[in-house]
């Protein structure tokens, strides 16, 4: 419904946790247990040689940026929670390939 005054929000960026589908993330977590320990400090993105912010650990889903990962493992060495980030990326890609699309 179009409002007659005030602001109109075109791009809805709201995350609806009520409708959240965590199946993909849960399946990845079965293989890479440590990823749930992420405290979202961003050290992995900061150190990434690709410099584009490959990892976004806020939600484990397939992200197109993952295809630019170099697998160099620097993120693994700076993660303060010791998360196996390389395995995580690989597993996300494996799962994605298995499903043929992002879930």
């Amino acid at each position: 419904m179009k409002t007659k005054f005030g602001f109109d929000i075109h791009d809805n960026r709201q995350i609806d946790l009520d409708l959240e589908d965590t199946r993909f993330a849960d399946e990845v977590a079965v293989v890479v247990k440590s990823w749930k320990a992420c405290m979202k400090c961003g050290a992995c993105v900061g150190t990434c040689p690709v410099g584009k912010g490959v990892l976004n650990l806020t939600g484990i889903n397939y992200q197109p940026a993952l295809t630019t990962c170099l697998m160099c493992g620097k993120c693994l060495l700076v993660c303060p929670r010791g998360i196996n980030t390389r395995h995580l990326i690989l597993e996300v890609m494996n799962k994605y390939r298995e499903y043929g699309k992002a879930v």
């Binding site: 405290m39 400090c41 961003g42 993105v45 900061g46 912010g53 976004n56 806020t58 700076v78 303060p80």
Partner: protein, 376 residues
């Protein structure tokens, strides 16, 4: 390791409050009454000072051991204390007053490396010989600053313009200047939180608690001194839990324009001019950050230094010592008569250390009363 400070302009002044603060400067109080029991206090920092003062006030004889040749511990190197920016010397003065007492024997320059409990008597041992004996011991050995060289990616000890919060505090305390490579006021300074805290990579799982507020305090100090300097704080979580901490956080943002960026710095490198290039992520924006600063300050965490004393183990087995009932007391399990005070039980602020020292003194007194059957 004394740090080379090529760009720091030395301007050391005698700070009046420190002047003349030697062992015979204060009037010794208290009557020398005969005392039957003696408690040893290991450590001369705030917790130790509080403990010896409280014990003496309860007419208990105290043997006070300190490995340095002066008491005060790390307080001696601090400039101003958060949140009120009280000079460290003032706090020192208040604490040290209670330690000039007839019941207190100071043993300076004596490092205790282990304690042994044997049939109600406790022996205090140095590196290769016994130093003393006591009926009860209060361990107030404090903490060690995390050795920032273990986080090599920040370049401490490699780049000249990377310093720790402890270094910065001595810069302030000495009245030195923090200048950039050209000798003028720094254009920008960045603080890195959680260096040696909350980091599995260096085997530290705990939060050191006080670095956040230290970062806030030191950021304000830099902004007060250099009005044009941009100051950044890179944090994972801001933990401003104590009295006046949150207010100081707000003051830093509101009155001093300190920028707080939620993201951990992952590495630093040096550019051709010797400035420090920092890589991080602004996690709230989900975008990587690149920043060049004149100084990078690492807010180093606290490492335990006490369990080595308790168990006689080497450096590698260090951990904070857990009290038997950490919620209600500070007696050490399996070592009757040994009590913990201050940061050897975990990271604490100065008021917490002082309270903990006094509390340990009371617990030691209770223990001795019970042991000697004195039911008053």
């Amino acid at each position: 390791m004394p740090r080379e400070k090529p760009y720091i302009k030395s301007n050391r002044q005698e700070i009046p409050a420190f002047a003349g603060m030697t062992s015979d400067a204060q009037p010794v109080t208290g009557n020398r009454q005969p005392v039957t029991v003696r408690v040893a206090v290991v450590g001369g920092g705030p917790a130790g000072m509080a403990a010896v003062g409280a014990l003496a006030a309860m007419h208990i004889g105290v043997d006070w051991y300190e490995k340095e040749d002066r008491v005060g511990g790390k307080l001696n190197n601090y400039h101003q204390l958060f949140p009120d920016r009280v000079p460290a010397s003032e706090a020192f003065g208040q604490l040290v007053k209670g330690t000039y007492h007839n019941h207190i024997d100071r043993h300076l320059g004596k490092a205790i490396t282990s304690v042994g409990v044997n049939a109600g008597r406790i022996s205090l041992n140095g590196k290769d010989h016994k130093i003393g004996e006591a009926d009860a011991v209060i361990l107030a050995t404090g903490f060690d600053f995390f050795d920032a060289r273990h986080k090599e990616e920040f370049g401490y000890g490699i780049y000249k313009h990377v310093i720790t919060s402890a270094d910065l505090e001595t810069v302030f305390a000495d009245g030195d200047k923090l200048l950039n490579v050209n000798g003028s006021a720094p254009a920008s300074v960045a603080f890195v939180h959680c260096v040696g805290s909350r980091d599995e990579q260096v085997g530290v799982s705990y939060c050191s608690r006080l670095c956040c507020i230290t970062g806030i305090k030191q950021a304000i100090q830099i902004r007060r001194e250099y009005r044009e300097t941009r100051v950044y704080n890179f944090y994972i979580d801001m933990r401003a839990f104590g009295r006046g901490y949150e207010e100081l956080y707000r003051e830093a943002q509101e009155n001093h324009g300190v920028r707080f960026i939620r993201g951990r710095v992952s590495e630093a490198s040096e550019d051709e001019q010797g400035r420090i290039r920092v890589k991080a992520e602004d996690t709230l924006m989900s975008r990587p950050i690149k920043l060049t600063v004149d100084w990078l300050v690492l807010l180093i965490g606290m490492s335990p230094s006490c369990s080595a004393v308790l168990s006689g183990k080497g450096e590698r087995e260090k951990s904070f010592t857990n009290a038997e009932n950490p919620l209600t007391g500070s007696a050490v399990k399996g070592q009757p008569g040994v009590f913990l005070a201050g940061c050897c039980a975990g990271p604490m602020s100065i008021p917490e250390s002082v309270a903990s020292g006094r509390s340990a003194a009371v617990q030691a007194a209770e223990y001795l009363n019970k042991k000697n059957g004195n039911s008053e």
